[in-house]
Amino acid sequence: MKFTLSWLKDHLETKASLDEICDKLPMLGLEVESVQDRAKDLSDFIVGYVEKAQQHPNADRLRLCIVDIGAEKVQVVCGAPNARAGIKGVFAPPGARIPNSGDILKKGVIRGEESNGMLCSEREMGISDEHEGIIELDPNAEVGAGYATLAGLDDPVIDIAITPDRADCLGVRGIARDLAAAGLGTLKPLDTSPVKGTFKSSINWQVNLPDEEPALAPYIVGRFFRGVKNVPSPKWLQDRLTAIGLRPISALVDITNYIMLDLGRPLHAYDADKINGDIFIRLAETGEKYLALDGKEYTFSEDMIVIGDNNGVDDLAGIMGGERSGCDDQTVNMFLEAAIFDPVRTASTGRKLNIISDARYRFERGLDPTSPGWGSEMATKMILEICGGEASELVVHGREPPWQRTYMLRHSRIKALTGVEVPEEKTLDILKDLGFKVSGEGEKINCEVPPWRGDVIGEADLVEEVVRIWGFDNIPTVSMQNDTIIPRPSLNPSQIIEGKAKRTLANRDMAEAVTYSFLSSQHAILFGGDKHELKLMNPISSDLDEMRPSIIPNLISSALKNSNMGNPDVAIFEVGPQYTGASAEGQQVVAAGIRTGQTAERHWSNVSRSVDVFDVKGDVVALLEVLGAPVANLQTSVDAPDWYHPGKSGVLRLGPNTLAYFGEIHPTVLRTMSVDYPIMAFEVFLNNLHSPRSKGPNRALLKLEPLQPVKRDFAFILDKEIPAERLLRAVRGADKNLIRDVILFDSYEGKGVPENKKSLAIAVTLQPTGSSLTEEELEVLSNKIVGQVGKQVAGQLRT
């Protein structure tokens, strides 16, 4: 919402400066987006009289001008064809900032002649693109006078953002009212007295809307004007519109715009001679079209309110008029429309057709329901004054929708909700200044809401109005109080697990990434996605059109991007959501990571190798261990989902709970994603981890054995297909008391080992308790181990 300072002062009697006003506005909830004080910006530019203009001795196209700027006469080198003696132009002295370029003008010597300033073109002044010659000012302009004032550019322009609730501030008067209530002056009275019509309008309303929806167009006022002259608007009006970025068109159009900007009341002006018969207001028929004033054709659906005549529809209610019946400079008879249309219907229509207009903006935020009456009277006065002619009697359909409502305000409620004590009489003053009718006194008062404040719907709103004007700065600052001095933990067990997972993986040299919750459905389908309920109906692009069924594809895309940037060794993880369904249960927290490339950068001391499945298995096991899962009891199986390499992947389960997938990504999946090198990945399902039962901080008692542990190595030959985990389990089970640890230190196939067999070598650590193990006891235990291995995995001791 843009307006100028002088415009504001039409409504506000004030001595406040521009700065004071602009400091106050945001504290009232009217956020200042920008302030443009052009008088200040243009203060260097003054009227100069070209006393002499002669040919530059060294340049054909340049002239030497002697310019009288009042205080002195200066020489200026000028290249404009119209630079000649006797004209007055805009003179910029050295040091001036040229509006168009932002450059600071310097004294110069051009082809040997001194130039002490510049005569400016319209383009240089930022007024238009005109650069054929310099600006020629009115011959009567006073030499040395400021250019900004002369050109009507000395009125500062203020631009404020209006929150959706403050429809009343979409007119300058509403802003003035707020400032007045806040003590920055007084609101000037507005004369809305009616103008008596001198004849009956030949155009009438034919409203044909469903009876069951009375709110669609409850109140419409029209007025016929005959014998008007649609002249250009007077300069003051043009200046104001230009200042806020509107192009003046003609008096009738400019006046409707002005009333909208000034008072928040949109109006529409039809050329009455282009109207065939009466004007109807009805719901559109599907497929009906019109050519709007923005030059585009729109096709309606049957829930839209349209306006037209015997020749068809030519106006979309509350949004935009049509090309056919609009006013032009030939207009002599005009029909004015001031209506109330349903804000909800206006909003939905505007959104469906994607028409953005100043009228729609105001209609959908809710107009003052009394405004058709006073709005048409205010417009009438301006039209008669500027365009002449005669006004008809009003043509009214319906009546003001009921808007009167009264809420009780308890003074104590202000203190209770905001902590600030506002004196009772101040409360009354503030409400009255804002237009509320206040009755009663003491603790409870009754406040009748003015018609322009549709946003006020209860006591809390009244509290806000009072405190807003009284000043948020006056609210005391009270620090939060805890019911315990030492705060209780703010995280629950699953939140703690997430945090631990992140820092554990980061500690394992992986970088944490945060990627989008969505991806392309082409990628989703590779990872178990392609679910209708998870597809965005309005994706921002086809790359981001489905909720991710897994984090892995996003990490693979990241790896590819990094590789394209020359960083092929990538170890990244993300702890975040994946989505298997649209319900709350379908959202799971997963710690996912990928590794690709080499384990380490090349270095003189080591041979780096390609990452493999055991790197990511290591990540998973380490993570599960930190998160308190009983790692020794995990079962490994080889049924990882399709996006993993069937021979190089695994699933870790604890009973029925799937805790993790890990492995190499399936080469076909990678190829589809344009990746031509192997990538290792893991997914740990944090929701499936039982949060460690709170056993309190107590640890199990540690018994440090005084006896040295004994180590024994074994090598077994067994079938190639038997998983190593089964061998380890068999050995551990041989004597759960004595065997402390089993390490698999060699896995071998090839020469010396029969075909389809493999040799696995293990180191067993035995921890004697009480007394040392005798040779016989060791022998018994060895036999037990060999026996168990033979029984459970058909392994033979390698000799």
């Binding site: 970088a511 945060v514 990627t515 380490a600």
Partner: protein
């Protein structure tokens, strides 16, 4: 006898000279053997003492013993010296080029969003808040209607909502446009007093230099019988000063509008751009960082909480925004690009867990 003794002394002198001149451990061992070994010359002379008469034997014995002791001591000391120089020579030979680079350590990193969430959680924990969460895929009831944003409300249109297909009963589904639906879910689930923050992912269909279709917010909600706007101010001023680490940070509350709060306030912090350098703190300018307000009575009533008995406040802010401001990260989009150069540069050491005891600002 005297003559013999002179010979002995000469022998000793020869040994001493040889010891002095020996240059390695083998040589000194050879000297030891030839002097005091089983067949050594001094050992031999001592064996010969038995042939002398008792008186002479005593005199000669004393002299020989002295010579033996002196020669042995000289050998030992020379040996130690030679061992030292041999070791020193060996060590010099074993020298490595210590200017070779150390073995590479790859360290992982924590994303600035995680770090920032951990920081603000630590601060709000001090004020007694706990962390709540909610689903990203919401119904439009929780995302809008329950928050006093009816259909066709301008505020609803301004939020650029992502839509998902409706559920089986036709209920529209959206990606939550803010963390505020968790306010509703919490109030429906647990009775007051309530004191939560809700950090999490949010989604809006907006994509340009300063907007991402996914970003993070943190919501705050306090519901009890007495918390008013003064507490709101205190809570947020305390937070901003602790988070940005500026004790005298100016914080300004301006009236604003959110459908689910009344009164509503936007919060600005002080900043300066003096000398072309942006800095948070006392200055001539303000920067908007969050929205807040007293929970709207309709929202309370909709959750089954009596607005005449309970009241409280809510606030929300963008996590990327406060992270960018605090850490001087210039652009939003690289947050989600997973460029390892960016992750390593703007990321955090995993052990740097934010705690109040060491200060939130490292």
């Amino acid at each position: 006898m005297v003559i013999i003794m002179d010979e002995w002394l000469e022998l000793k002198a020869n040994f001493m000279k040889a010891i002095e001149e020996s240059s390695d451990l083998e040589a000194i061992e050879a000297i030891r053997i030839s002097a005091v070994g089983k067949k050594g010359s001094i050992t031999g002379l001592m064996k010969g003492l038995g042939a002398l008469d008792a008186e002479k034997r005593k005199e000669a014995g004393q002299l020989l013993n002295k010579i033996k002791t002196e020669v042995t001591a000289a050998i030992d000391s020379r040996k130690v010296e030679l061992e030292r120089t041999t070791l020193a020579a060996q060590l010099l030979k074993d020298r490595v080029d210590v200017t070779l680079p150390a073995r590479p350590e790859t360290t992982g990193s924590i994303h600035p969003i995680t770090q920032t969430i951990d920081e603000l959680t630590a601060i709000f924990c001090q004020m007694g808040f706990s962390v709540a969460e909610g689903p990203h895929i919401e119904t439009d009831y929780y995302n809008f209607t329950a928050l006093n944003i009816p259909p066709e409300h301008p505020a609803r249109q301004e939020q650029d909502t992502f839509y998902l297909p409706p559920d089986d009963t036709g209920v529209p589904r959206v990606l939550r446009t803010h963390t505020s639906p968790v306010q509703i879910r919490t109030m429906e689930k647990i009775p007051p007093p309530i004191k939560i923050i809700v950090p999490g992912r949010t989604f809006r269909s907006d994509h340009d230099a300063t907007h991402s279709p996914m970003f993070h917010q943190v919501e705050g909600l306090v519901i009890d019988k007495k918390s008013h706007m003064g507490h709101l101010k205190g809570c947020l001023i305390d937070f901003c000063r602790a988070f940005f680490g500026v004790d005298d940070l100016p914080v300004r509350f301006r009236p604003s509008y959110f459908p689910f709060t009344e009164p509503s306030a936007e919060v600005d912090i002080g900043c300066t751009r003096e000398g072309g350098e942006f800095r948070i703190g006392k200055g001539d300018d303000w920067l908007e960082i969050l929205g807040s307000g007293m929970v709207h009575p309709r929202v309370l009533a909709g959750c089954g909480i009596d607005p005449d008995e309970y009241q409280g406040f809510a606030f929300g802010m963008g996590i990327e925004r406060i992270a960018m401001l605090k850490y001087g990260i210039p652009d939003l989009r690289p947050f989600y690009d997973s460029d390892i150069r960016w992750l390593k540069h703007y990321g955090f050491v995993p052990l740097d867990i934010p705690t109040v005891s060491k200060g939130i600002n490292q």
